[in-house]
Every structure is written in structure tokens, then in C-alpha cells.
Subunit: 204 residues, 2 copies
Amino acid sequence: MKLYDYKMAPNPRRVRVFLAEKNITDLEVVNVDLGKAETRTPEFKKINPYLSVPVLELDSGEYISESMAICRYFEETHPENPLLGTDPESKARIEMWNRRVELALYLPIAYTFRHGNPFWAKVMKQSAEFAEISSEDVDKQLYMFNKHLDGKQYIASDEFSVADITLLCAIDFAKVIQKRVNSETHPNLAAWHERVSARASAKA
Amino acid sequence: MKLYDYKMAPNPRRVRVFLAEKNITDLEVVNVDLGKAETRTPEFKKINPYLSVPVLELDSGEYISESMAICRYFEETHPENPLLGTDPESKARIEMWNRRVELALYLPIAYTFRHGNPFWAKVMKQSAEFAEISSEDVDKQLYMFNKHLDGKQYIASDEFSVADITLLCAIDFAKVIQKRVNSETHPNLAAWHERVSARASAKA
């Protein structure tokens, strides 16, 4: 199996942290440099027509893209240290929180970056107006996630889960749009971030 | 168990089609009228702080929102007629295609509608410029999904899956932004749409 990866982007990091939590180390890693547009070649288009990393190449030759689809594959093949839940309720609760993080926070961070940073003007149509709306959404969501984490160890339950991985990667990614959490502005989120960042997997 | 539902919106329909495919009929259904802003009351905010339907109320009193989290719950409790895959590869492949439909097509349809239709001006900041960009994205994605479906029965594999449910609800939802598929413009997508719309579950 091969993992097509890029160290500087947030989505591949979600998979690397997931793999680190699972102690999965026997993967060939292929670096795809987004800065050099290496996902936009005809060769890469065959690997993923949506031109994104991460992508997992299975031994059958099939390609699996989308971070959560790759995580799902490894949760199934390596059920120890479960990160997607263990019963119908916890699986649903973790999926709910993971999606809330993705849709309500992670996407507005990405939109603020992509619609506001000149780097992306080369490959897509930008809307500065939408970047501004998205930036305001990020602020609202940081407030909501901070409120949710009051008295809680982890985002979806008492156990660390993939929803914490997504939130960790989202919060760290937010640096590119100059948003940071700290103990004065977002005390619960900052304490959670310190707790999750202290795990060995966070270095992945 | 109770399902908080709204007949006119696309996300609740995803869950209703899923339930119909599973032959699950023993649910109390509570209609929440989005047209009358019934998700924006203090009572509903306790059910789902993200103010959306569908929401599943479990017998424990816990609330599960996010369509896919609700589908995941029922896939776990009613594994017959699997819609999320049966082995690591098919689970990953279906999750990949479901997410491609959601992120690449469903979201741009929703953005075109929300940023372009006066109805939404009451509850959010709109960007007509972003509505226009999103509308162009929808056209590109209809082209890509039509191309992908060449020679295929279903979107993720030879079997009907949740990815087909998401695509069905997305395509039908696109009517609100005046986008339709037909046998001249998108022959593979139109044939797939006819095939999937003929299932009894599509009426849900």
C-alpha cells in the first residue's frame, strides 16, 4: 500500500495522526508537492480526478481518496484503538461531531484561505466578499466549540476520537488565516488543544 | 425514537430514503417547518444547536444530528440491506464517493441557493458573487459525475449505496437553482437518475 501525502496541508495530516494513533507504520509514503502543483499533472489526475491528497493506493491498485474514507479503511482493517466508535450510539455521536467540525469550522477556515489568499487565484475563481463572510463564520464557530468543550475532555465523548483529530487539524490550519485560540479568548478550546497536542500522534 | 423531519428539504430526504431502503417504519416523525423558522426557536436549539434537520432522538434522550450520522446509526442497528459497504474496501469506496458527492456537488448547489435566493437573506450574509462561482462549480461537477457514470449502474460500485441516495437528493435539490439533467446534456447521469428514481425508496 502507498499513501500519497503532503506534509504542509491539513487533510493529509488528519490521516497521519489517525495512523499514528493506530500505530500503523508499514506504509510506503509518496510525497506530492502541492506547492509545485504536483496534483495537477495528467498522471495524478488518474490517481484522483479531484486533484487532492491524501490518497491511499491499495495493493489491488485501487485508489481511495478523501481523508475520512482512508480513515474508515484503517479502522476496519485495524480495529484496535477504535477512533470511530464501538457501538451504534458512539459511532453516530462521533460521526455527528466529526461532521460538525468539518462543515461548520474546517470548511470556513479553508474558504477564508482559498478565497482570500493570492496563492489560490492561479487555480480558482476567488470571492473576497465570501472570504470575509467565512472568516466571520470561523469566529462564531470557535465560540461555539469553546462553549461545547466546557467541562469536557474530548469533543465527542470521554474518549479521544477522530473528531478530535479533525478539530486539531482545523485549529492548527487556522494559523494560515491568522486565527489562534488562547486561554483568554477560548479557555476550554485552548485547554483541549493543549491536551490533544501533547499526544505523540499530534507530531505526525 | 423520534425523527425530526421536514419534507421540503434535501437532507431530511436522505435519511427518509435510507430508512425506506432498510424497511424501517417504526419511527415517530415530528415535522419541523423550516419555512416557519421552527428550527430557530429556543426549544429546537436544545435539540440541535446547529439549527438543522434531520435530528434523531434516541430512546436515551440523546439527540443525533447530521444525516450521515443518523444513517450510520441505522446501518449499525439494522445491518440487513447494507448501504455503507460490507468490507474495508467497499466501505472506503462508498465513503469516498459519498463525500465527493457531498463536497463537490451538493455543497455548491446549496451555496448557489443560499447565497442567491432572497429567502436566505433574512438569516445569513449572502454573496451573489460566490453564488455565481458555486453555480459554475455545479455545472463542472454535473459534467464530471456524468463522465464517471459512463458504463456504471451506480455511483460507488455495482450495488446501490448511500452515495446514490446523496446524489439523488442532490440532483433533485438542484431544481431550486434551475439545474436539471436530461438525456441530451448528461446522458449517463440522466439514465442513472431514472434508474434510481424508479426505486420505491425515492418517493420517501
